[in-house]
């Protein structure tokens, strides 16, 4: 079963859209591409001020006790305007891991800061091409972490990280204070994601879960983040579809609007289809948090949203012709973001496998 948004949820969508459209402009985002480690500070200030950082966290720790549906709505709007920092998703993932698997002490220590946005969290599960590695390269021995987690979104500014590591004979999910951890900035095609490699060297870490439960926990956190990211991707794809539509009705070639040519109009109609399928899967997945089919629903949302955003980026640029590939028009901001979000939380290859394992009864 899917859901209809109620009035409160619709208000969240409308209001966050209004605010983001007023405060985030491509002209502020373009310069961020060419430096490493900077993010759009006004975006993050807005997220904190509006309570979006607290939205889906428990009231007891400074949260607003709403859920995936509401945070997804924000992410959708952030995807439309191109969010200027990755922390909405990374903080949420880190906070959920602590909320679900942490001790009371750990919650007390970290959740209020993550909820207010004054503390930045990161989630480091992947290792190179493995989104959820069978044997993580980072090792945990006697509560000390060693090794490198590569390509962690938001890590450059993160205070705390959730790390999936190889513990003594079994995987663990660990909580790590990053204050003294070495970070190598990554020069990426989407620098405002503040990507870094985290170098652990005898770094103190606290185990949240271990054994096969750690793997399940890591997947659950990934799936939660994937649903948020899928909303963001769907928002980006929707924006591109609208940009393409608006261009096609105004731009003329051979004496008529280019939108009258079926190669253009049918392509935009196909984008509409991809966006609506992604949106439907997102709404469904957000409504299934806590249910046994949640990971399945998250995978479907993730796959359709990644396809929608990548395709919309390709097609919207193509429909624009030469102007589409210029720096100034900024469509490449979406192109870059589409690829970034396609990698964060695991690529389509990963989610296809997760989904089929479940459908074919090969996984719990």
């Amino acid at each position: 079963m899917s859901i209809l948004y109620d009035e409160g949820q619709q208000a969240i969508a409308t209001e966050s859209r209004r605010i983001l459209e007023a405060r985030v402009h491509k002209d502020d985002l373009l310069p961020l591409l060419q430096t490493s480690g900077r993010y759009h500070e006004a975006f993050w200030a807005t997220a904190k001020e509006q309570g979006w950082t607290a939205l889906a966290l428990p009231e007891a720790h400074g949260g607003l006790a709403l859920g995936l549906v509401e945070l997804g709505l924000i992410a959708h709007q952030a995807g439309r305007t191109l969010s200027g920092a990755p922390f909405l998703t990374s903080n949420f993932g880190a906070a959920k891991a602590i909320e679900l698997y942490g001790s009371d002490d750990q919650k007390q220590r970290w959740l209020p800061g993550l909820a207010s946005g004054d503390v930045i969290g990161a989630v480091a599960i992947a290792s190179g091409p493995d989104a959820l590695p069978a044997h993580p390269k980072v090792t945990l021995t006697n509560d000390r972490l060693d090794g490198v987690k590569d390509g962690v979104s938001g890590a450059l500014h993160a205070d705390v990280a959730i790390v999936f590591a190889n513990g003594p004979g079994m995987p663990v999910l660990a909580l790590v204070d990053l204050a003294k951890v070495e970070k190598t900035a990554i020069d990426s095609f989407d620098n405002s994601r503040c990507l870094a490699d985290l170098h652990f060297a005898d770094t103190p870490a606290e185990t949240l879960v271990s054994g096969s439960a750690a793997r399940a926990a890591a997947l659950h956190i990934l799936a939660l983040q994937a649903v948020i990211t899928a909303h963001e991707q769907t928002g980006g794809a929707e924006a591109l579809m609208e940009i393409a539509r608006d261009y096609a009705v105004t731009r003329k070639a051979f004496g008529q609007p280019i939108g009258a040519f079926q190669s253009i109009k049918h392509r935009i109609a196909e984008l509409y289809g991809l966006v609506e399928l992604a949106r439907a899967n997102c709404i469904h997945a957000a409504s299934r948090e806590g249910q046994s089919d949640f990971v399945t629903a998250a995978a479907a949302a993730r796959l359709s949203a990644t396809e929608a955003y990548d395709t919309a980026a390709r097609d919207c640029v193509q429909i624009h012709g030469g102007i589409g590939v210029t720096w100034e028009i900024g469509l490449h901001l979406h192109m870059r973001r589409a690829r970034t979000l396609a990698l964060e939380q695991g690529s389509s290859l990963f989610w296809e496998d997760i989904l089929v394992d479940r459908l074919a009864g090969e996984a719990a």
């Binding site: 209809l4 939108g259 009258a260 109009k265 049918h266 109609a269 439907a280 796959l303 989904l355 459908l359």
Partner: protein, 401 residues
């Protein structure tokens, strides 16, 4: 147990109880005529059990329940392969349109009751040889004839016309005005003098569609279901019903579970095909697409239950689902290798991959081709410009053929 769960249980129990008499096994080896006769008995049993016209008004023989109960029943019904295909169009579009637009209410009630009990079948006479995608370009004409009308011309692709008692029809009553303005909507008696039905054999070997010829067929003016010249909008209303009735995220082909079972069963050089990334990718992509459509459809029903109008995304159903079904069916055949050649002309596209594959092109064309649907989405939903149409605004009888 919620009310709906209770309803589902009741529906399931009834379907189980009649499965031996009407289910897949009972139909095996029957000729089309025998199967139709069985189908009429099934429809009557369904009516008697209170499962016909589930969401239709009680004063017309329906059950007065919601759309949600209807699709709940249909989900159970689908499991048994009952012979209900002959009534799908009839109860799907023409009879609902008759309920909405028929002027003689006693006549309407009599027809609806007989249709619900499988005694009478209605067909829908829209498409013509000259233009499948161009409804407003139709050429079959009705001229005034005394107080009534006289119909001449030809329709085509009419499903189940050979078994139909009545049909709804759109004809041109004024060729001197722009093409979509000269149309009028009627019902006709399919047994009337001058009506000739000729079945068309399709690519898969069966003949459920027909050509229908009208040769001076006389009807009185009370057959009229729209204002004179106002037939186009009633026809569009019919098509809207059709688009909404026709939702199946499997594209009217096999359920994805059947593909997964196939991939689990087939061993390729000692490994199950389900372990092959190419197969896995198609399963995952199809699942994501189908679950998206399912979610769209569930939300549409929730909106209708809440008295709202569903969003336009419902128009994606047929386009996306049937196209995907076609390729997935090809892959299912590929997967079987030299075991994939087998073909049974009478197998069901819902559970046989070869049948699904060979009938898929019909699904991509009937009820609005892929291209028509894309144009509709582009123009009606997204506000993109119409294609160049040299015939636009030109009186019908001045458009070059």
């Amino acid at each position: 147990m919620s009310d709906l769960e209770a309803y589902r249980a009741k529906a399931a129990a009834w379907c189980e109880s009649v499965a031996p008499a009407f289910g897949k096994a009972a139909r095996k080896g029957l000729s089309v005529e025998e199967d139709l006769a069985l189908g009429r008995r099934y429809q009557k049993a369904k009516f008697d059990a209170g499962f016909a016209g589930i969401n239709w008004p009680t004063d017309l023989g329906g059950q007065g329940l919601g759309h949600i109960e209807k699709i709940t029943f249909e989900a159970e019904e689908m499991k048994h392969g009952f012979p209900n295909v002959y009534f799908g169009i009839s109860l799907g579009m023409p009879v609902p349109v008759l309920m909405q637009f028929g002027s003689d209410r006693e006549f309407v009630k009599e027809r609806v009751l007989k249709a619900l009990q499988g005694e009478e079948i209605w067909c829908q006479l829209f498409s013509e040889p000259s233009g499948g995608t161009d409804l407003a370009g139709l050429r079959t004409r009705a001229e005034t004839d005394g107080n009534g009308w006289k119909i001449n011309g030809q329709k085509v692709w009419t499903s189940w016309a050979q078994y139909s008692d009545y049909g709804v029809i759109v004809v041109r009553t004024d060729p001197t005005v722009a093409k979509h303005k000269g149309l009028t909507y009627f019902w006709v008696d399919m047994k009337a003098p001058g009506v000739t039905v000729r079945p068309i054999k399709l690519a898969g070997g069966d003949s459920h569609v027909n050509e229908v010829f009208f040769d001076d067929v006389k009807i009185s003016d009370d057959h009229r279901m729209s204002p004179v010249g106002g037939g186009f909008s009633v026809a569009l209303a019919t098509l809207m019903i059709e688009r909404y009735v026709a939702t199946d995220s499997a594209g009217f082909g096999p359920h994805l579970d059947l593909f997964i079972d196939l991939a689990k069963d087939l061993m390729i050089n000692g490994r199950p095909a389900i372990e092959d990334g190419r197969i896995r990718q198609q399963i995952a992509r199809n699942y994501a697409m189908r679950s998206g459509l399912d979610s769209i459809n569930v939300r549409a029903r929730l909106m209708m239950q809440a008295g709202m109008t569903p969003g336009p995304e419902g128009s994606l159903n047929k386009l996306v689902a049937v196209r995907s079904r076609q390729k997935l069916s090809e892959l299912a055949i590929d997967l079987q290798g030299v075991g994939g050649f087998h073909f049974d002309e009478h197998a069901s596209p819902k559970d046989d991959w070869a049948s699904s594959w060979i009938n898929a092109p019909t699904g991509r064309i009937a009820g609005g081709s892929d291209e028509t649907l894309l144009n509709t989405i582009a123009e009606r939903i997204l506000g993109l410009p119409q294609d160049h149409r040299p015939d636009k605004g030109v009186p019908f009888n001045q458009i070059p053929a």
